[in-house]
């Protein structure tokens, strides 16, 4: 009985918090998606925003394109992060975790500021242009690097590589070291050991890395806003617009809910691959 009381005492505050500031807001969101307009009455509920969303080719296309950008970002981040994690695990020695942390710390310190840094670097008044001109490779400043979809992807990859490296690092670290000896012992050269043993056993880490990059990037809006220009707009910007200028909150909510459904699907897939304990090491 005592245990129950203690449990109740400990769990009540968190539960209230989760209820008030998480469950209720999202329930409201679901509810308000049926609202007629941003500030009017709740009744009668209407499906018109849902209809508007699915009828419009634009929104769906933007969603698909943003998914594609998110996918590319995740893919490139993993391709760049994997060799890093691999090298650190197998050649990094005692300091491998520290070496990894050295690369992750800039990632943790700032998000907006690093996007800002890229904005500065990529711009026509920016550093990359300056360097190119200095060396005489171009005669005029090119504005095209900045404010493009490529700029968005480059910046996002820059943001995400450290975060992608962590789960891959963790899963490589978990592989029992004797397995490599065993594979080599049975006749496999280093390449075959990699494809037969290392790679398959690091798939949980790769999957985790993929989801950790893909899911948040689906809802990304800050990077496109700063370096994307017109070309690089993503789904998140469209949502944000509804709350800024469009003032069509219900539509924005519908768009968010659609995003949430997609995120949820991928999240469920994610949970099938890794456990909570794994996540804590990544946190």
């Amino acid at each position: 009985m005592n245990t129950k009381k203690r449990l109740l005492a400990l769990i009540s505050l968190p539960s209230v918090w989760l209820l008030v500031f998480f469950i209720i807001p999202f329930s409201m969101m679901a509810l308000f998606s049926f609202r007629d307009n941003s500030f009017g009455p709740l009744f009668p509920p209407t499906l018109k925003h849902y209809q508007a969303f699915f009828a419009s080719k634009n929104y769906l296309r933007m969603l698909a394109e943003s998914s594609w950008i998110a996918f590319l970002t995740a893919l490139i981040s993993i391709l760049l992060a994997y060799p890093l994690a691999y090298f650190l695990i197998f050649r990094g020695g005692k300091h491998r975790l520290m070496l990894l942390s050295l690369l992750i710390i800039p990632a943790w310190t700032s998000y907006l500021l690093r996007i800002l840094a890229w904005k500065v670097m990529l711009g026509s008044g920016g550093i990359i242009n300056s360097i190119l001109i200095q060396f005489g490779w171009i005669s005029e400043r090119i504005p095209l690097i900045l404010y493009s979809r490529s700029a968005v992807i480059i910046t996002l990859v820059y943001i995400w590589i450290p975060y992608a490296a962590l789960p891959i690092f963790s899963s490589l670290e978990r592989i029992e070291p004797h397995l490599f000896d065993a594979s080599s012992d049975l006749g496999a050269n280093p390449w075959r050991t990699f494809f037969n043993v290392t790679l398959p056993l690091s798939i949980p880490g790769i999957a985790a890395a993929f989801f950790f990059v893909f899911i948040p990037t689906l809802g990304e809006w800050v990077t496109p806003a700063l370096v994307g220009g017109v070309d690089g707009i993503m789904y998140g910007n469209l949502i944000q617009n509804q709350f800024l200028r469009g003032l069509n909150w219900p539509l924005g909510i519908v768009m968010s809910l659609v995003l949430m459904v997609i995120v949820s699907i991928f999240t469920i897939l994610l949970y099938r691959f890794i456990s909570i304990r794994d996540m804590s090491s990544i946190a």
Binding site: E176, L179, D181, S184, D185, L186, N189, L201
Partner: protein
């Protein structure tokens, strides 16, 4: 045709990244010739270099000095995947993402063997280790003993010239371990493959091996058959490590062409035989004798041994078929005896405080430096 299966020529392995020591020679000048089809065991306490030596033969490490020759070929710089040698690891190292059958087939697949032949050889291997119907399970679903047998099958299915075993039975419980010792011995005799076995369990080594090498501090202390190692230990270390020994501290008071005299327990005892001995430095020595070689008499007139030493019983433990009796000599030194119930000694009748006589045969004594 190479004469020996594996030859180690003056092999040294020095590790230089130890935290506190500058240079640590894990293997310090080892030379061995291992015969084909031999069950050869490297025995020693942990840290003696036996596992490092095994890894040098397997190719997981390169010697700092010396050569490793396998089947007549200098394999010193060859990586493991190019050596005709396979290893059974201490914790089995089974690939967790593959089934038992896939694990066993791994080496065959790498070697490019056709699928049909792979399947049949895997089936044979499974049968050989008595795991016939477990081919589709994953390693995590098997018990320790079963995993160990998969590891064995995985190595043997490739028909290596040499099989290396790194304390493979260490994680098994006692009964299973004893059963597996028999199995391994039979397997080795059946396949005729050279087995090189590493263990710290001297009983295990004596049970299974054709020859045993006792290692200490990176060096070989003695090589011989189990019988040789047990009955004719060359150093104090071997006498102490293998089986049980009593060590009597004695003064060698007299030594000439006729023989030697040892003084202990306030008496002089003369050797009536030529004794197996190390070069004795100084005049103190250790006389080693095994518990089962000591004879216990209550009546001194019945004592038929070369030496009859008075002693007092200080402890005894009765275990059913055996009795272990500890006695104290006149100078306080203790001896342990092992009495079998089938002997003329009356078992179970010795009480603490009893005055008895210990019989020692001269030819059973080994003398070592302290």
């Amino acid at each position: 045709m190479a004469q020996y299966s594996v030859v180690l020529e003056n092999v040294r392995k020095v590790f230089d990244d130890d935290v506190q020591r500058e240079d640590f020679a894990a293997v310090d000048g080892i030379s061995i010739n291992i015969e084909k089809g031999e069950f050869f065991t490297m025995l020693g306490p942990s840290g003696c270099g036996k596992t490092t030596t095994l890894r040098l033969i397997a190719g997981f490490a390169e010697p700092t000095e010396g050569r490793v020759i396998i089947d007549g070929m200098d394999a010193t710089s060859l990586p493991p995947y190019k050596r005709p040698v396979h290893t059974v690891f201490q914790n089995y190292a089974l690939f967790p993402h593959m089934t038992v059958a896939q694990n066993i087939a791994y080496g065959l697949k790498i070697a490019g063997i056709s699928r049909d032949e792979r399947e049949s050889r895997v089936k044979d291997a499974l049968r050989m280790v008595q795991l016939g119907d477990l081919g589709n399970r994953k390693p995590a679903q098997l018990s320790g003993g079963q995993q160990q047998r998969v590891a064995l099958a995985r190595a043997l299915v490739n028909k290596p010239a040499v099989l290396l075993l790194d304390e493979p039975l260490g994680a098994l419980d006692l009964k299973l371990r004893k059963d597996m010792q028999w199995e391994l011995k039979k397997l080795q005799q059946l396949t005729g493959i050279t087995f090189i076995y590493v263990t710290h369990d001297q009983e295990e080594a004596l049970t299974m091996s054709d020859r045993v090498a006792v290692l200490s501090d990176g060096k070989i202390v003695q090589i011989g058959t189990p019988h040789e190692i047990y009955s004719y230990p060359k150093t104090y270390f071997v006498a102490d490590f293998i089986g049980e020994s009593n060590f009597i501290k004695a003064q060698i008071t007299h030594s000439d062409s006729d023989g030697m005299t040892a003084n202990f327990a306030n008496q002089n005892y003369r050797f009536t035989c030529a004794v197996e001995t190390q070069q004795i430095e100084g005049d103190t020595a250790l006389l080693a004798i095994r518990p089962e070689q000591l004879v216990l008499y209550q009546d001194p007139k019945k004592c038929k041994s070369d030496w009859c030493i008075p002693a007092r019983v200080s402890a005894n433990i009765f275990i059913g078929s055996d009795e272990r009796v500890e006695v104290a000599l006149a100078d306080g030194q203790k001896l342990r005896l092992l009495l079998r119930s089938s002997e003329k000694n009356q078992v179970g009748s010795y009480q603490e405080g009893d005055d008895v006589f210990i019989g020692i045969h001269c030819t059973d004594i080994r003398i070592f430096n302290q």
